[in-house]
């Protein structure tokens, strides 16, 4: 099953290594990982998306809770949290198809954040399904590069 684990940690060096090590050391493969400070600059939130056996993951969370620099751990069940992701995607675009790309972007409430003669960079946010649908539509134009934040989550 896919899980979204949110780990609130002290903003100190080595913390990410401890958290990631606890997860990798138990054979879980991380699908996505996001780290950034919270409104309290001394704390950071790590959001991890991974697939794993429920019991093994429950144990992993308990073990995460024991790490000295971890303040809180939560596993968000379906519907419990707002889930969002941001992607920056660079698409091949010239005067011939630019209008069509902009139209698609509008439908997805995405923004053109860089325009060049032969390519555009688009910023899009949303849940995973929306992002995947959007990227699917851009595919025929030629996706040159892609950067995604990985899932962010905040409890409702």
């Amino acid at each position: 099953m896919r899980h979204t684990i949110s780990v609130l940690v002290e903003n100190k060096f080595g913390v990410l290594a401890r958290v990631a090590g606890m997860i990798s050391g138990r054979g879980f493969n991380i699908d996505s990982l996001n780290v950034a400070p919270t409104h309290d600059a001394t704390l950071s939130r790590i959001t991890i998306v991974l697939k794993g056996d429920d019991a093994a993951l429950e144990l992993c969370q308990k073990q995460l809770r024991k790490l000295v620099n971890v303040v809180d751990v939560a596993d968000f069940k379906e519907g419990q949290a707002v889930l969002r992701e941001l992607a920056l995607v660079k698409v091949r675009a010239d005067s011939g198809n630019r209008a069509e790309i902009v139209q698609i972007a509008d439908i997805f409430r995405a923004k053109i954040v860089n325009l060049a003669p032969t390519e555009v960079i688009i910023e899009v946010t949303g849940d995973e399904e929306k992002l995947n649908a959007f990227l699917g539509l851009l595919e025929p134009f030629g996706v040159l590069e892609l950067a995604r934040t990985g899932r962010l989550a905040l409890k409702r």
Binding site: L8, E10, F13, G14, A17, R18, G21, G25, T38, H39, D40, L43, A55, L59, K62, Q63, R65, K66, L67, V68, N69, V70, V71
Partner: protein, 592 residues
């Protein structure tokens, strides 16, 4: 997100020290933590610390002959005394030599602080001479660790490190200190309290009465109850509470090897210890019980074998300070998180309040009594000295009053089977990690912690050789730690598995010349000559081959005032029994 804190006035004020070097601050911190002995091997990156140690007479510095020996000694110091053991090494190879003991302390939950020198901070990450990322390297085997980049942080780091090492579930803490941080001049501020934002660390971990009361009806209903007591009893100093609880409820106690001595083995309620090589009756009792009360345990695979076949008829209660141990290996009915000493103490009070009387379990006690009578730990007599007999004789001659340390292998199991432990902190062994070479340096650490007690390393010839250089430490530091080697010229436990599961094919398990293997019948081929090696280190030694001389030889070892090596030549053909093969169940226990 910030939690409300008690007003600062409620805490004693931090103390501002005189101006000093970082290295002197480290020493000052150690003194403030009550450290009076450390096991430390110097090198370029830790030299400042050794110079600072030379400026105080409050800390005894013991120089091991290998950092692994020093760190095992520090760990055993902790196991024997309950105090935090401290070891120190230089950067790079000095530090990497500490890793086994740190991992060992992690596996067995032993409070230890390991200090390492690190290269100058400006060289970190540049593959400088003797640089390793020790912080990164030890991450999976520490309770916590620090790389100190600002000397002003040293007082806080040390205060936190000692608190973490000994609080909650104890464990090792690493402090890595670059040389420039040791050299920096600072005016330290010594904190009087520690603060952690992780709420599980500073909160008192006590079980609630509501949780504990749920156990009472289970106790009242049980027809075949057993207590399963582990290392948590020892680290929480809960042996008195355990004894009172067992006596009040009239329940027999099977310990783990980590819990050995946590309940007196001569007590009529003792089932000795159980698991892979534990007592047959202890294993049967746990297998057949209808209520299993695990206290300070972690359902290790050497205890449970196949977990799906472990204690299948039992309602299982699990009391432990570490919530992550509940339901980890075995699903339990009633997990209770809390310090085991508090939990057992409070349970005893609740039982008194509820005027609890133990249910009639006479039939169960009769069954256990019969099993104990019919299947004690036993061995067959031989014309040669057999290893079990050597341990038993040592037990008799020391009247069970010694601290026993061990290496890892057959001798480790025989030491636990044929020496009986009435008190905690008397059987010191690398149990979770199973690190060979633990025995003799551990005996040094234990003897330093408890000079009033006889300390004997019961070792194998393989394990003993792994840290044999510590004989020099014993001689130079005048530490009267003794070694009784059960010398069978083989890696006995691996040989036993070869005999049982691999058609006796020897895969690198013979320690001497394969074409001329030494034995009690072939003494001229015995290799190496441990007595001569001991002599070379200035340590008295004796080899004993004849059964008729065993008792007198052990007496001589015990009477000797100083370190001693007794090399007992035994046949390699003995197997440790009973044995539950790895991953199997009690039903498949081998009794012969």
């Amino acid at each position: 997100m910030k939690k409300a804190r008690t007003s600062p006035a409620a805490f004693p004020k931090p103390e501002i020290g005189r101006e000093m070097k970082g290295a002197d601050c480290v020493v000052e911190c150690l003194i403030r933590e009550g450290v009076d002995v450390i096991f430390a091997y110097p090198g370029g990156a830790s030299q400042e610390l050794h110079q600072a140690l030379a400026r105080t007479d409050k800390i005894r510095v013991i120089l091991p002959r290998h950092e692994q020996g020093g760190s095992f000694a520090a760990e055993a110091y902790s196991r024997a005394s309950g105090q935090v053991g401290v070891c120190m090494a230089t950067s790079g190879p000095g530090a990497t030599n500490l890793v086994s003991a740190i991992a060992d302390a992690y596996m067995d939950s032993i409070p230890m602080v390991a200090i390492t020198g690190q290269v100058y901070s400006k060289y970190i990450g540049k593959m400088a001479f003797q640089e390793t990322d020790f912080y990164g390297m030890t991450l999976p085997v520490v309770k916590h660790s620090y790389l100190v980049l600002d000397a002003n942080e040293l007082p806080r780091v040390f205060k936190e490190a000692f608190h973490l090492a000994k609080s909650g579930r104890p464990g090792p803490v690493v402090i890595d200190i670059p040389k420039d941080v040791q050299q920096a001049k600072i005016q330290p501020v010594f904190p009087t309290t520690v603060e952690f934002r992780n709420p599980t660390i500073t909160a008192e971990c006590h079980a609630t009465d509501e949780q504990l009361k749920q156990l009472i009806p289970l106790l009242a209903e049980a027809k075949r109850p057993v207590i399963y007591a582990g290392g948590g009893i020892i680290s929480a100093e809960a042996h008195r509470e355990l004894k009172a609880f067992a006596e009040k409820t009239n329940i027999q106690v099977a310990t783990t090897l980590m819990g050995l001595g946590g309940f007196p083995e001569s007590h009529e309620l003792s089932l000795r210890w159980f698991g892979m090589h534990g007592s047959a009756y202890g294993n049967w009792a746990v297998d057949q019980c209808d209520l299993l009360i695990g206290v300070g345990v972690r359902f290790d695979d050497r205890i449970t074998g196949d977990t799906s076949k472990f204690a299948t008829q039992a309602k299982i209660v699990h009391i432990d300070v570490d919530a992550s141990e509940h339901n980890k290996n075995k699903r339990v009915l009633l997990p209770i998180t809390g310090d085991v000493r508090h939990a057992l103490g409070r349970l005893n009070e609740l039982l008194a309040v509820h005027k609890f009387t133990a249910p009639d379990t006479k039939a169960w006690h009769q069954q256990l009594g019969k099993w104990k009578k019919d299947h004690p730990f036993s061995f067959e007599k031989s014309k040669h000295i057999v290893p079990q007999e050597a341990v038993q004789t040592l037990y008799e001659l020391t009247k069970g009053n010694a601290i026993i340390t061990t290496g890892v292998g057959q001798h480790q199991m025989w030491a636990a089977q044929f020496y009986q432990f009435q008190e905690p902190r008397r059987y010191l062994s690398s149990l979770g990690l199973g690190a060979m070479g633990f025995g003799y340096p551990a005996a040094l650490g234990a003897k330093v912690a408890r000079p009033d007690l006889e300390v004997i390393d019961i070792d194998g010839d393989g394990s003993f050789a792994m840290n044999i250089q510590e004989l020099a430490t014993a001689h130079i530091e005048k530490i009267a730690a003794k070694a009784m080697i059960l010398n069978n010229q083989h890696l006995g436990m691996v040989v036993q598995w070869e005999d049982r599961f691999y058609g006796s094919v020897r895969g690198n398990t013979i320690l001497g010349d394969e074409s001329n293997v030494g034995s009690p019948d072939n003494p001229s081929a015995l290799y190496p000559d441990f007595v001569k090696i001991a002599e070379g280190y200035g340590v008295k030694g004796r080899r004993v081959i004849k059964k008729s001389e065993l008792r007198e030889a052990i007496s001589e070892m015990l009477a000797h005032d100083g370190p001693y090596v007794l090399d007992v030549i035994v046949p390699y053909t003995e197997h440790v029994l009973p044995m539950i093969p790895a991953g199997r169940s009690v039903k498949e226990m081998l009794l012969k």
